[in-house]
């Protein structure tokens, strides 16, 4: 099978799953006990707002039911839901008082940025430790690393995040071990939030917030967003750097909390994978040629051991998006996870549908990319 055939096949396989997810989100939302028509009118449900042609009174509640299409059959509702989905009308959120699509659009980049950055931390750490552990098999270091591999996976994310806040976001005055090293008062890292509420520009005392607009990924936006105030700054690039640093500092703790379990499982997989490769014939050949051990490991073994690691990426992304629910709650990021929690606790069913759909699409697409990458790296996969 050629690569493009594989990609097309993989894309076609995606369609039934997405259809299934749409049906699934729809049915879950309809299982939820809340009556949106009743919640919208609150205590004014009994008020008669209109009369039918026959003179029958119409209460606010009935009007809401009519407007929301709840009097129709489930199949008609589902058809309407799907057509609206494609038209970009995902409904109006009750809690946010905004269209669901806007809520999701604002939230998605935050979660994606956090997950991406978390994996950016987890992957190098996990892979490096895995390689070191495999190279020093059955030494003390290996035993310690094996323990940490399991321990990292066992950590409850929310608790670990709070421990990080305790020790790295508070200075020694508050019981933390961390003294200010990045110039932030009270600790190394900010306790929560995506940004400082505003920081004073050094020269003119101008209080400055993160500029609106842009992609929503603030690590990128801090360099590229165009802002009228920003361009009038005497040294624009220094301000941009401050913005970038601020974003990065705020991201650090949530991402460590989020990435630690991925790092743990990566460590274990990398170790197992490398150990398997080290018993292969071509490694023996390389050693027999008289190559330096470092070269054998880094060039011959690691490159092959890294191939199956790509598949772990799919799981890690799912774990990171799921774990973002917890870290975003703790670190007060208004990402998808927080939106999900808010919408579920306040039973805002349009948002629940939207969030579930978008997270699953993000997850599916990232898995698709992972699969295609794997097929490029390891052509044997395409044969199946």
């Amino acid at each position: 099978m050629k690569l493009h055939e594989f990609v097309v096949r993989r894309l076609l396989l995606l369609i039934p799953v997405i259809v299934g997810v749409v049906i699934f989100t729809f049915s879950v939302a309809h299982l939820i006990p809340a009556d949106p028509a009743a919640t919208q009118c609150g205590d004014k449900c009994g008020i008669i707002i209109d009369y039918t042609d026959d003179g029958e009174p119409i209460t606010a509640y009935q009007a809401n039911r009519e407007r929301l299409g709840m009097n129709e059959g489930v199949d008609v509702q589902f058809k309407k839901y799907v057509t609206r989905l494609f038209e970009g009308d995902w409904g109006e959120s009750e809690t946010y008082n905004r269209p669901v699509l806007d809520v999701v659009k604002d939230a998605a980049p935050i979660t994606l940025e956090m997950s991406f950055f978390a994996l950016m931390i987890a992957y190098p750490v996990g892979i490096t430790l895995g390689i070191l552990s495999a190279v020093r098999q059955d030494k003390m270091f290996d035993h310690v690393m094996r323990f940490f591999g399991i321990a990292f996976v066992s950590l409850p994310i929310f608790w670990f995040a709070m421990m990080l806040q305790l020790y790295f976001a508070t200075g020694s005055a508050m019981g933390g071990v961390c003294d200010p090293i990045f110039g932030t008062d009270g600790g190394c890292f900010p306790v929560y939030g995506r940004h400082d509420t505003g920081f004073t520009y050094p020269e003119d005392g101008f209080v400055w917030f993160f500029p609106e607009g842009g992609t929503g990924f603030h690590l990128v936006d801090s360099w590229f967003v165009s802002d009228a105030k920003l361009s009038t700054m005497p040294d624009e690039w220094n301000t941009r750097w401050l913005l970038f640093k601020d974003t990065l500092l705020h991201l650090a703790l949530p991402c460590i909390a989020l990435g630690v379990s991925s790092a743990g499982s990566l460590l274990r997989y990398m170790r197992a994978s490398l150990l398997e490769v080290l018993h292969e014939d071509y490694v023996r050949t390389a050693r027999a040629k008289g190559l330096a051990e470092s070269r054998v490991i880094m060039v011959h073994a690691c490159r092959n051991a890294l191939v199956p690691i790509v598949t772990i990426l799919g799981f890690s992304i799912g774990g990171a998006i799921g774990g973002a629910v917890l870290t975003e709650t703790i670190f007060a990021f208004n990402g998808m996870g927080r939106v999900a929690v808010t919408s579920i606790t306040s039973i805002d069913y349009t948002v629940i549908m939207g969030v579930t759909l978008v997270t699953s699409i993000i997850f599916l697409l990232s898995n698709l990319i992972v699969d295609i990458t794997y097929a490029i790296i390891d052509p044997r996969v395409r044969l199946e």
Partner: protein
């Protein structure tokens, strides 16, 4: 017709095989343990798991107070203590008490004596009251602005240790509404852990924000977590194994449909999926199923499973003639419809019976049900006889006795009958007799909801795992051989495939207990799990969120408990994997 003596050789053979299998499994276990104990981490994991389990079992004996909570778990005899002993909130010392004494010279309530009282307690009538404390020493006195006062300004009444007396100096110099904070140590024997050595006999984890002993709460939390872990893991493994083995064994379109269905579950990140299900289950107050569904489905399932198990064990080859096999196959359909018929005739019109006989509704219902069950059981027993021998009434009672004799190889048929009987009895035990519905879980509280959500989200993973294992084992030579000899699918499944696929299942089961504890506490943490105020680890951590920076002990210990328990189960699972799958160990 086979006589009883004909089966003698078969009986001896089956006993011999049983003994052999037992000794085999014992030596397998011993060998496995010898491999297992080589790994320090694995042994440590086992010890941790045993430790946590023991602690949760003996929580009543170890804990100094019962957590004030509302778990609504009537199965366990947890004493709900209506008198939570309030100590100073969020303190790491349980014997210290801080109290404000307001001295007001103009007030008629102003006295030279102050009674040392506890914080508010909740009485049995849900009203607050206070206990008098016997004070050991006064630690600190400070005025309302926080300046230390001379501690000799206040002394304990030598006659009554629960009365503090103001010296005239403090009494006369106090201005209007001067508040004085007194910190004193009091005798709190109830909170001491008698099993700890001297010098450690304080409440070791400190107190929560409501003044309860945190250690006791963490202890009782282990019960909740372990219960969730075991329930969810067991049920997900069961469902996943059934679905996965069907999918893997039959393949083709069945496999395709099941796997596409599972893909939908994999498409949504686990925690978000579980959250959605918790929300969707929000209105379910008690888990009920219609009577016809609740009785018929388990029966049909049992009939199918035991039938294939039966075919796989007794009815092979030379012992039973091919003609009998044919009869089994031939009569399966009619027998099942017979069962359905008797069931509907016997059970469903039952609510209409009271008018008929003029008896009370519940009695009529139970009478009808009992009659229906008797009819169904009788029909199945007779039908079972039909499987084996040509049916006639001569000697029917002896054959019936045969079927309950455990040494009789044909007893498996009776096992099936018994299983159906037990299923019905169990279902009626759960039913509260209201008529149309069988109550499986009477109070489907939030703990049950997260368990249900985790089960619903968890089983596809197992289905995929088992499917892979079945596909892998199915291609092996011995399965091919069994199939070429003509073994039926049930025999291949139970005798050849599943025994070779149990190892990864056991590993996944152990790891899943840990994973479930993590997700359940995570759900509780974001407020979708157990009720607030429950002694659950996730809840305890989330309750400490307000001021954990100032009182880190509140979240440290419950979090450590989660981490340690999950770590124990993960190490255990890893150790079992090393034993079961030596290829993986390096």
């Amino acid at each position: 017709m086979r006589s009883w003596d004909d089966g003698k050789g078969d009986r001896k053979e089956s006993l011999r095989r049983l003994r052999q299998a037992l000794s085999q499994s014992r030596s397998d276990l011993w060998r496995g343990w010898k491999v297992y104990r080589r790994s320090l981490l694995a042994v440590a994991g086992l010890i941790m798991v045993i430790f946590v389990t023991t602690i949760s079992i003996f929580a009543d004996e170890i804990a100094v107070e019962h957590p004030y909570r509302n778990l609504q778990d009537t199965e366990d005899e947890w004493v709900i203590d209506w008198e939570p002993r309030m100590k100073e909130p969020r303190s790491e010392e349980c014997d210290w008490h801080e109290q404000k004494i307001i001295t007001n010279t103009r007030s008629k309530y102003f006295l030279e004596e102050v009674v040392a009282e506890s914080h508010n307690k909740v009485g049995e009538d849900n009203r607050y009251y206070k206990d008098t404390l016997s004070v050991i020493r006064i630690i600190k006195i400070e005025d309302s602005k926080g300046y230390d006062l001379n501690s000799s300004l206040l002394y304990i009444d030598p006659a009554n240790s629960s009365i503090l007396i103001l010296t005239p100096e403090l009494y006369n110099n106090s201005t209007l509404n001067l508040g004085v904070w007194v910190t004193y140590e009091f005798n709190n024997e109830a909170m001491h852990h008698s099993w700890l050595p001297d010098g450690y006999d304080v409440c070791i984890f400190g107190t929560t924000d409501t003044g309860q002993d945190l250690f006791s709460k963490v202890l009782y939390g282990s019960r909740v977590s372990l219960k969730i872990g075991f329930t969810v893991a067991t049920l997900t493994v069961t469902i996943g194994t059934i679905v996965g083995s069907i999918s893997g064994y039959y393949g083709g379109r069945v496999d395709e449909v099941i796997m596409r269905f599972c893909d939908i579950f994999f498409a949504v990140p686990g925690l978000i999926l579980a959250m959605a299900f918790v929300a969707a289950l929000g209105s379910v107050m008690s888990l009920t199923i219609p009577v016809w569904f609740g009785v018929l489905v388990p029966i049909l399932f049992l009939v199918t499973v035991t039938q294939s198990y039966l075919l796989s064990t007794v009815l092979d080859g030379d012992r039973i003639s091919d003609r009998t096999m044919n009869i089994v196959m031939q009569y399966r359909g009619p027998l099942l419809s017979l069962l359905c018929f008797f069931f509907f005739v016997g059970l469903l019109p039952a609510p209409a019976w009271p008018e008929f006989f003029g008896i009370s509704e519940s009695l009529g219902w139970r009478l009808g049900a009992a009659l229906g069950i008797i009819v169904v059981i009788g029909a199945i027993t007779l039908a079972d006889r039909k499987f084996i021998q040509n049916w006639d009434f001569e000697g029917a009672s002896e054959r019936l006795a045969d079927s309950f004799d455990w040494t009789n190889p044909l007893r498996y048929l009776s096992i099936r009958t018994l299983a159906i009987f037990v299923a019905i009895v169990v279902l009626f035990r759960f039913s509260n007799g209201s008529g149309d519905e069988i109550v499986l879980i009477k109070d489907f509280d939030r703990l049950w909801k997260i368990q249900a959500a985790l089960i619903i989200t968890g089983w596809p993973g197992y289905a995929r795992l088992i499917r892979g294992q079945v596909l892998y084992v199915k291609e092996m030579n011995f399965v091919e051989a069994a199939r070429s000899v003509g073994a039926p699918p049930g025999r291949i499944m139970f005798r050849h495939i599943l025994p070779n696929a149990w190892a990864p299942l056991l590993v996944a089961f152990t790891l899943d207990i840990g994973g479930t504890i993590l997700s359940a506490s995570g759900l509780s943490f974001i407020g979708l799990g157990a009720n607030p105020g429950t002694a659950e680890w996730g809840i305890l951590v989330s309750e400490s969120r307000d001021d954990f920076l100032y009182h880190p002990h509140l979240m440290l210990y419950p979090g450590l408990a989660i981490a340690a328990t999950v770590l124990g189960f993960n190490l255990l699972g890893d150790g079992i994997r090393d034993v079961a799958d030596p290829k993986n160990r390096r």
